[in-house]
Symmetry: C2
Subunit: 215 residues, 2 copies
C-alpha cells in the first residue's frame, strides 16, 4: 500500500464497536481532508498474528508509503504533521498542542483506562478511584475556562482528549458540565460522525460475512 | 528566562530523589549537548501553587523563550526536535522514534505506573498484575532482538523507555534479562549519570537550606 492506510481488526464484538482506536486515526484524517484506506488483520488470533507489525498485539497501526508505525498517539502526531487543521505550525501553538495531546495519553488516560479495566474485572472501588476523581476535576477546571485545549482553536489535542473522555464510564463520572459539553461538542463534529459511522459499518458488514461463512 | 529552562520542585523527600521526572528532560539536554537552566517551584503547596503553569499540580514543565509546556513526554519531543542526537530527521527514523516514545508512555507506563501506585496503596495483587506481566514480556521479546528500540541507534525513545523501566519495582519484575541489560546500558550513559547526580545534588543542597531555615 503506498498511501495512508489505517490497519484495524477485520471484526470485533459489539461491545468495543465505536471505540476501537483506529477511530482516532480515521477522525484525524477526516478533519484534515486526507485520503486514507482501511486495511485489516484478523481479530481471531490477534494476540500473535501481527506481532511483527505491533509487538503488543494491538491495533491500530498505520502505513504511509515506506513508513510503518503503531501506537495511536504516535499515528495521530504523524498525521497531524501533515495538516495545519490538526497542528498549528507556529512554535507556541505546536507546543501547546503537543502538551495537551500527551496530557490526554499520560495524565488522563493513564489513570482512567486502568481504572476502567479494574472496574471491568470487578474491582469498582480500587485505589485508582481517588486519582481518577482528582485528574478529571482538574481537567474540568481547565475546560470550564476555555473552548479548546490548545491555541484557541480545534487541534488534534481536542480530538484525542475527547476520545479519551467519551468512554461511557468516564463520561458519566461525577458532575463535570464543562467536560460533558466538550465531549458533546467534539463528537458532534462531522469528521467524528463520519469516522464513527464508518467503523460501525465496517464491523456490521463483517457480521454478515461471518454469518455467510458459517451458513 | 529566555533559554531552555526545566522547572522542578525546590525539594522532595528522599524516596522520589533520582526519579522526579525533570530527570527525563535533564537527561535529554545532556545527550543533545543543549544548554539549560533549572528553576524551581515550592514542594510545599505543590497541589495548588503552580496550577497556572501545570493544571495537574505536577512537575516538570519547560520554558523555552516564549514557549511554555508541561507533560514530560511533550517536553522530550520538544527537546528532541532540536537535535538529531535524540530524534533522526529521516521520515522512517522519526516515525519509529515517535512510535516507541509513545509506546513507553501509553503501552508500558500506562500499565506499570497505576500498578505500582496500587501496590504502594497496599494492593499487591491487583488485576493489573497480569496486564503488567503481559506487556513487560512482550517488550522483553522486542529487546531480546535488538540493542535500540528505533532506527538502530540511540534515540529519545530509548531514554524514555529506560526511565519507565528503571523504577525498582518494575525493574525487578520477573526474569527479563534483555530488559535488565537495556536499563543497565542506558543508565550507564554519561548523560544519564550527570542528570541523575545533578538532581540528587539539588535536593541534598535543599536539605541544607531547609535545615538552616529551621536552625
Amino acid at each position: 500500500m503506498t498511501g495512508l492506510t489505517i490497519w484495524t481488526y477485520d471484526w470485533v464484538p459489539e461491545g468495543p464497536r465505536g471505540f476501537v482506536r483506529d477511530l482516532r486515526l480515521r477522525w484525524a484524517c477526516e478533519e484534515a481532508g486526507l485520503d486514507y484506506a482501511i486495511a485489516t488483520v484478523p481479530f481471531d488470533g490477534r494476540e500473535t498474528n501481527h506481532l511483527d507489525r505491533q509487538p503488543f498485539g494491538q491495533v491500530p497501526y498505520l502505513s504511509d508509503g515506506s513508513v510503518e508505525m503503531f501506537e495511536s498517539g504516535a499515528g495521530l502526531l504523524h498525521i497531524a504533521g501533515k495538516s495545519e487543521a490538526l497542528m498549528p505550525s507556529d512554535a507556541t501553538g505546536k507546543a501547546q498542542t503537543l502538551q495537551w495531546t500527551l496530557a490526554a495519553l499520560n495524565s488522563i488516560e493513564m489513570v482512567t483506562l486502568p481504572w476502567w479495566f479494574l472496574a471491568l474485572s470487578g474491582d469498582e472501588s480500587s485505589a485508582l478511584s481517588g486519582w481518577v476523581a482528582k485528574r478529571l476535576y482538574q481537567l474540568e477546571t481547565v475546560l470550564a475556562g476555555r473552548e479548546w485545549l490548545a491555541a484557541d482553536r480545534f487541534t488534534v489535542a481536542d480530538l484525542l482528549m475527547a476520545d479519551v473522555l467519551r468512554i461511557p464510564k468516564v463520561r458519566s463520572f461525577g458532575q463535570r458540565p464543562a467536560s460533558e459539553a466538550f465531549v458533546a461538542r467534539l463528537t458532534d463534529r462531522p469528521a467524528f460522525r463520519k469516522a464513527h459511522a464508518d467503523q460501525i459499518s465496517q464491523f456490521e458488514a463483517a457480521d454478515r460475512t461471518r454469518a455467510q461463512a458459517t451458513a
